[in-house]
Symmetry: C2
Subunit: 394 residues, 2 copies
C-alpha cells in the first residue's frame, strides 16, 4: 500500500485525498458546499458533495427560494454510493444541516464510514464537523438540532475528530459561558478591555475547549472567531485551537487576525474547506497520517501542532481573499451609486415613500451581492498564501 | 463601463465572467455540472449551478440513486435569482436536462436572460447549448425531448449562440444522416476507409453543420466527436467546428485527436465547460466581446476563428488530463487485481457461479470508478495546456 504521507512534490502540496462534503448548495454566490468544495478542489482534493439544501442564494439576502433536501434523500444518496462501492473517502466534512433528522442521517454516514475505513486501517478516516447553528448570539436552527450536535460531538471514538465552531457555537456545545458571544452581551465583547481582560477571556475559551477534550473526547478543536478588542483600536479576531493531550488536557494556540469592516457570508465554510486541505498537508509532513485521528505526540508543543500550522495558512489565504473582496466590493458599490441616482421628479409623498423603499431594498441587495467572497477569482491566494500571521501558545 | 475585452494580465487569462450552468449533479465522480463547474472555476470563471438531477454517481455504473429536479424547481430557483437581482450572467451553459418539461423551463430562462441582458447591450450574453441526448447510436432521452431540442435550437436570435453536439446528436438535430454515427452502423465508422471516404465523411458533417447555420441561424457549432478511422490504424477522433458567415455559409475547421483505449464519462461536459472559458478568452483577444453573438467578420478564415483557437486549447487540455487518467486507472486496476484474487476454496457449483457474478460486478464497478476523469488532480493541464494539435480548414 502507498504511504499515506507521501506527497506528489511536482504537482500538489496535499497528498491525494477524497472528501465527502455534506452541506448546503446555493446557485449564486459562495457559501456552504459551493464555497468549501471549490476551496478544497483548488488544493487538489477530490470532493463528493451531498447538498443538504438547494437554494437560489444565501440567507444573508433575507429572501431566497429553493428546497431543503429531505433526510431520506441524504440516506438514499449514501446508499447509492454504498451499492457502487464508492466509499473510499479519507475525510468527511459536515457543514450546514437543516434539521435534527437530517443530522441523524449524517451521523449514521459518519459512523458507517468510521466503521468501514477506520477500524481496519487507523488514521485512514477523519471527520471534520462544523456545527453550524448561529453566530453573534443569534441561533438560526432549532433547539432540537442543538441537542443533536451535542450528542454527535460527545460520540467519543465514533464522534468527530475536529470540531470548528465559532465562539457562539462553542458556548452552545460546551456549556461554558463566554463573555461577549452570548445574546445578552450583544454578540460581541465590549470595546477595549484592559490587557488582563483580554487574557482572561481567552482563558475562558480554553476552558470551553477543554470541556470538549475531556467530556467529549474530541481530539482537535479550532474556534474560528472569538471577537475581542485588545490593544488595537480596530479590533482583532482571535482564532483559538487545540489538540488534546493523552491526559485530556489542552494545548492551545491563538492566531490574531485584523477585523475587516464588512460582513462576509461563507467564511466559516471557507475556513472548514481550507482546513481539511491544510491539515491533511501538515499531518502528511509531520508523518501523522495513518495514526488514529492523525494525532501528534504529547511532546509536540501547541504552536508546533500540524493544526496550528494549518490554521496559520488557512487564515493567511482567507485574509488575502477577503481584502481583495472588500476592494472589489467598494469598486462595485461606487459604480452602483453612480448609475443609480434617485429620480429627481417630484412625486406624491406616498409614491415617494414607496420609491424610497424600493431604492433601499435594491441597495441592500446590491451591497449583499457585492460582498460575495471572490474565492474563484483569487484562487492563487488559496493555493499559495503569503504567510501573514503566527500562532502563539496560550 | 469597463471594456469587456479587457483581461487581467497578472492573474487570469479569461476576463471576468459569470456563468449560469444548468446540468446534472453527481455526488461521486465527474460528469455534468460536477465536471463543467470545476473546469470553468479553474480558469477563474464564477459559476452559478442549477442542478437538474441529484444522483449518487453517473449512469455509466449502470446503477445509481437520487432524484431528478422537478421542472417547477428549476423555475423556482430562477425566480429566486430574479427577486434578488442576481442575473448578471455573461453566459448560460445548458447541459443534461432530464425531460422536455425541464427543457421548457431552461428555454424560458435563456429567453429571459437574452431579453434582459442582450437586448440592452449586444454581446453581453451568450448561450452555449449541449444537446445531451445520446451517443454512439444510442438515444438515452425521450423522443419528446429530442423534439424540444430541435425547437430550442431553431430559435434564431432567441436560440443558442453555440451548440456542441456529438456526432450522433448532430445527426438528430440536423436530420442529415452521417455514416457511422447512427444505430444501424453500430455507432462508429468501419475501420480504415480510404482517404477519399474520410474526406467524404467530413463533408457530410459540414453539410449537417450548414443546416444548423442556415435553417436554424445557429452562429457557432462544434461537433465534439466524429469518430473516423483514417490513415492511422489506432483511429482518430475528429472535432469539427464552424462559425456561420453572414450569407449563412459555413467555415469549417477540423482538429484530429488520437482515440484513447478507454471509455470516459463526462468528456462532453468537460469540453463544454472548458469551451466557455476558452471561447471567452479568444473572443476577448480578438475584440469580439460586445458584438452580437461574439461574432467574427466574414474575412476571418476558419482556422483563425476564436472558436478554432479555443477548440485547440480545450482539446489539448483534455488530451493531457485523459492520458493521465488512463495511466492512473491502469495503476489502480493493477492494484485491484492483486488484492482481489479469487477465492481458491472449492465451493459448490451454484455458490461458485454466484461468487463469479459478484466478482464480475465488483470488477465492473472498480473499472468504472478507476476511469473517473482526474480533472481536479490535474488542474494545471486545464489552466496551462501544452498545445498539441492544430486546426486545419475543411
Amino acid at each position: 500500500m502507498a504511504d499515506p504521507n507521501e506527497v506528489d512534490q511536482n504537482e500538489n502540496p496535499v497528498p491525494e485525498t477524497k472528501v465527502l462534503a455534506i452541506a448546503s448548495h446555493v446557485v449564486y454566490g459562495y457559501v456552504g458546499n459551493t464555497m468549501a468544495t471549490f476551496c478544497m478542489q483548488s488544493l487538489g482534493l477530490d470532493v463528493s458533495a451531498i447538498n443538504t439544501v438547494n437554494f437560489s442564494n444565501h440567507t444573508g439576502y433575507k429572501q431566497w427560494k429553493g428546497t431543503k433536501t429531505p433526510p431520506e434523500q441524504i440516506a438514499e444518496l449514501y446508499d447509492g454510493l454504498t451499492q457502487s462501492r464508492l466509499l473510499d473517502f479519507d475525510v468527511l466534512l459536515s457543514g450546514y444541516i437543516p434539521s435534527a433528522e437530517a443530522l441523524g442521517e449524517v451521523v449514521k454516514v459518519a459512523r458507517d464510514l468510521k466503521l468501514k475505513r477506520e477500524t481496519m486501517n487507523p488514521g485512514s478516516f477523519f471527520w471534520v464537523l462544523d456545527p453550524v447553528m448561529g453566530d453573534q448570539g443569534r441561533l438560526y436552527v432549532s433547539e432540537e438540532l442543538v441537542k443533536g450536535y451535542k450528542s454527535a460531538i460527545s460520540g467519543g471514538m465514533e464522534g468527530p475528530d475536529l470540531v470548528v465552531p465559532n465562539g457562539f457555537e462553542l458556548e452552545l456545545i460546551s456549556g461554558v459561558h463566554l463573555a461577549g458571544v452570548s445574546e445578552e452581551d450583544g454578540g460581541e465583547l465590549e470595546r477595549k478591555p484592559t490587557g488582563d481582560d483580554y487574557e482572561a477571556r481567552l482563558e475562558k475559551v480554553r476552558e470551553a475547549i477543554e470541556v470538549l477534550h475531556q467530556r467529549d473526547s474530541v481530539r482537535m478543536v479550532v474556534v474560528t472567531s472569538v471577537r475581542v478588542h485588545g490593544k488595537q483600536s480596530e479590533g482583532v479576531l482571535c482564532v483559538v485551537g487545540s489538540e488534546r493531550k493523552s491526559d485530556g488536557s489542552s494545548r492551545c494556540f491563538v492566531v490574531e487576525v485584523p477585523v475587516l469592516d464588512c460582513y462576509f457570508s461563507g467564511t466559516g465554510d471557507m475556513f472548514a474547506g481550507l482546513m481539511v486541505a491544510r491539515l491533511r498537508e501538515e499531518c502528511s509532513q509531520a508523518g501523522t497520517l495513518g495514526k488514529h485521528g492523525w494525532g501528534s505526540d504529547d511532546v509536540v508543543s501547541a504552536t508546533d501542532l500540524p493544526l496550528a500550522k494549518a490554521t496559520v495558512k488557512v487564515l493567511s489565504s482567507m485574509s488575502a481573499v477577503l481584502e481583495k473582496t472588500m476592494e472589489a466590493r467598494n469598486a462595485e458599490m461606487e459604480k452602483y451609486e453612480k448609475s443609480n441616482t434617485r429620480a429627481s421628479v417630484n412625486p406624491q409623498d406616498a409614491e415617494k415613500e414607496r420609491q424610497e423603499e424600493v431604492d433601499e431594498q435594491n441597495h441592500f441587495l446590491a451591497r449583499t451581492k457585492a460582498a460575495e467572497v471572490r474565492a474563484v477569482r483569487n484562487a492563487r491566494d488559496l493555493i499559495h498564501p503569503k504567510v501573514r500571521f503566527d500562532a502563539r501558545g496560550l
